[in-house]
């Protein structure tokens, strides 16, 4: 569509300047710095740097700890995503019954989105607390297994996954509900007239129509849990016990800020950048598609 425009030589540049300035100074410059640093070795005091080519990457990809952090990241991300999408779809399926009070239910599940994952982590830390928490107490009736997250890596992982998923479940539900409301009622009514039961309606009509949203949420949840997960790890487990919850983003911080191994930290940043670029590209391919369909 052709739009009428204003004619002014300098004004548009003045208008985009603040945005571009912040972008260049705080996004582009640091990103290039990371790229550059990843090719250098810096002494721990930061006084000497020497060019080492791809040595930082080679070292990284030969240490088992790095592969461990990749594995942890994928366990964490798939846990958070599976719970988010699972609960989201479940509630969406229930909501197709067109019952009253749907907006009230939406409110009742949406508010945890306002809770910062690190705070959610602290609450779950107490729920999982080996001596005072309610969860080990209840589980004690069923099994004598010791659910101590300080000793068992998988319990610590379950703790951070549940805390993160808790804050994000409402987001998924909100999107599924918005998608459901976009499905024309006439389609669903036609199906009921044809005698399709609730489960069949969901499986053969609603789920296919929701699948673009499901795919979109899949990517968004993955991005969120790859990159938004630092706080909960830092506040609650610090990567422990024994590196069981050390995810990639936490390792970048730990190796850079605490270990002062700038080259390795920068190399890890570059690998993460490649990951996020891939995921964002996927996300936008989908958005383009949705725009053309509607």
């Amino acid at each position: 569509m052709k739009r009428s425009v204003f004619r002014n030589r300098a004004l548009p540049y003045v208008l985009v300047l603040p945005q571009i300035a912040v972008t260049v100074v705080f996004f582009f410059w640091p990103a290039f710095e990371s790229l550059r640093l990843s090719l250098f070795r810096t002494s721990p005091f930061g006084d000497k740097t020497s060019f080492v080519g791809l040595e930082n990457f080679r070292k990284l990809l030969t240490t088992p700890e790095y592969y461990q952090s990749i594995a942890n990241t994928f366990v964490f991300a798939s846990g958070v995503t599976a719970i988010g999408l699972g609960v989201g779809l479940f509630v969406a399926a229930l909501a197709t019954q067109k019952i009253r009070g749907l907006a009230a239910y939406r409110t009742a599940v949406l508010w945890p989105y306002g809770i910062a994952p690190p705070i959610a982590g602290i609450i779950f830390l107490f729920i999982f607390h080996p001596s005072y928490g309610v969860l080990p107490y209840w589980l004690g009736f069923v099994t004598s297994y010791d659910f101590n997250w300080l000793l068992k890596g998988w319990v610590a992982m379950a703790l951070v996954i549940l805390a993160t998923a808790w804050t994000h479940v409402g987001y998924n539900i909100a999107f599924f509900l918005a998608g459901l409301l976009a499905i024309p009622t006439s389609v669903l009514e036609a199906a009921s007239v044809d005698g399709a039961g609730a489960i069949r309606r969901f499986r053969s009509i609603i789920f296919p129509l929701l699948s673009p949203i499901t795919f979109y949420l899949l990517v968004v949840n993955l991005i969120f849990s790859f990159f938004g997960s630092f706080g909960v790890i830092h506040a609650v487990t610090q990567g422990g016990p024994g590196g069981a919850t050390e995810i990639m983003v936490f390792k970048v911080y730990k190796d850079g800020f605490i270990g002062l191994n700038l080259g390795s930290s920068a190399a890890q940043s570059v690998l993460l950048m490649i990951l996020v670029i891939t995921l964002t590209a996927l996300q936008f391919r989908f958005v383009e598609k949705r725009v053309t369909y509607s």
């Binding site: 990103a31 910062a116 983003v249 996020v276």
Partner: protein, 299 residues
């Protein structure tokens, strides 16, 4: 149950005249009961952690560590909240969080409005480049540029300052896209009429577009406020002094680590409730805007 169904039925039939469903009404009602029950279970499971945190924040330490766990509120709410308020510089922490959330949200909205306005209502050299530069910021979250951004802030002398806490958060591709999308739905006739009347671009933005944008601004503000309030990695990196900490980070000092501390989880939870209340209240009070903001910023 059948009594409830008969009472509710006339209203529903009036609202949705679907005669075909009438013969199956009885079975349908049972379905609804099951659906409501399942939804209520979901709501209860989701609400439980916050309820539990609240309950703990009203108990004494003895009640907190009691076995079996006590799951109903006690009467020490005020004492615990007063203790948490005094012990962790809570007023200062909350103030800092509020500044970060409000200033970064308003800043984002302002600079995104301006750049979207330039992109939609002007033709200029480098427009495509500007657009792509803004787009690429989506792919560079702070997590992938941790160390070098820290150095940049250091060389600007912005460590431990409100500028350092807020300005770098202000670039936002999503907000720019939202305004761009919205401006493109504004009818062309409006800008043509304005130009005929000799209205300049800045006045057009101020007097025509801004009043039309309030719904979008409110929606964005809610989402960005929550985003800003819940920032973690960024403030952790660039603030060192107690006075500049935000609340999400300051809470950590109160976590009773196993073995070494008195298990004052009641004070911890009181502080956690204070830290999570502002963003949760914003969602509940401005729910309509929040949902709009969530859904639309992702387009």
């Amino acid at each position: 149950m059948s009594g409830g169904g008969t009472v509710a039925a006339p209203a529903r039939v009036a609202a949705l005249p679907r005669v075909l469903e009438a013969p199956r009404r009885r079975a349908f009602d049972w379905g609804r009961v099951v659906v409501h029950a399942l939804l209520l279970i979901c709501v209860a499971v989701i609400a439980f952690p916050l309820y539990y945190a609240f309950v703990i924040s009203t108990q004494t330490v003895q009640e907190v560590v009691a076995r079996p766990p006590i799951l109903r509120p006690s009467v020490h709410l005020l004492a615990n909240y007063a203790e948490a308020w005094g012990r962790s510089h809570m007023p200062r922490l909350l103030w800092n969080s509020a500044i970060v959330a409000v200033v970064s949200a308003l800043g984002k909205i302002a600079i995104s409005m301006l750049s979207a306005f330039a992109i939609v209502y002007f033709n200029f050299r480098g427009k495509a480049i500007a657009f792509w530069m803004i787009f690429i910021t989506l792919m560079l979250p702070v997590e992938v540029r941790i160390m070098s951004t820290y150095e940049v802030i250091g060389s600007l002398g912005w460590l431990d300052s409100y500028s350092g806490l807020t300005v770098p958060l202000m670039a936002s591709a999503t907000a720019t896209f939202l305004f761009r999308q919205f401006y493109m739905t504004v009818p062309n006739e409006l800008v043509e009429a304005a130009q005929l009347d000799g209205v300049g671009p800045l006045r057009f933005l101020w007097a025509f577009l801004l009043p039309l944008s309030w719904a979008n601004i409110a929606a964005l503000f809610v989402v960005l406020f929550i985003f800003g309030w819940n920032q973690y990695l960024w403030p952790l990196m660039i603030t060192n002094s107690e006075a500049m900490r935000v609340v999400v980070i300051g809470l950590q000092d109160l976590i009773p680590r196993t073995g070494t501390h008195v298990p004052e989880w009641n004070v911890m939870m009181a502080a956690a409730m204070m830290a999570l209340l502002p963003p949760v209240a914003v969602i509940l009070v401005m729910q309509r805007w929040f949902v709009k903001g969530l859904i639309e910023t992702e387009k």
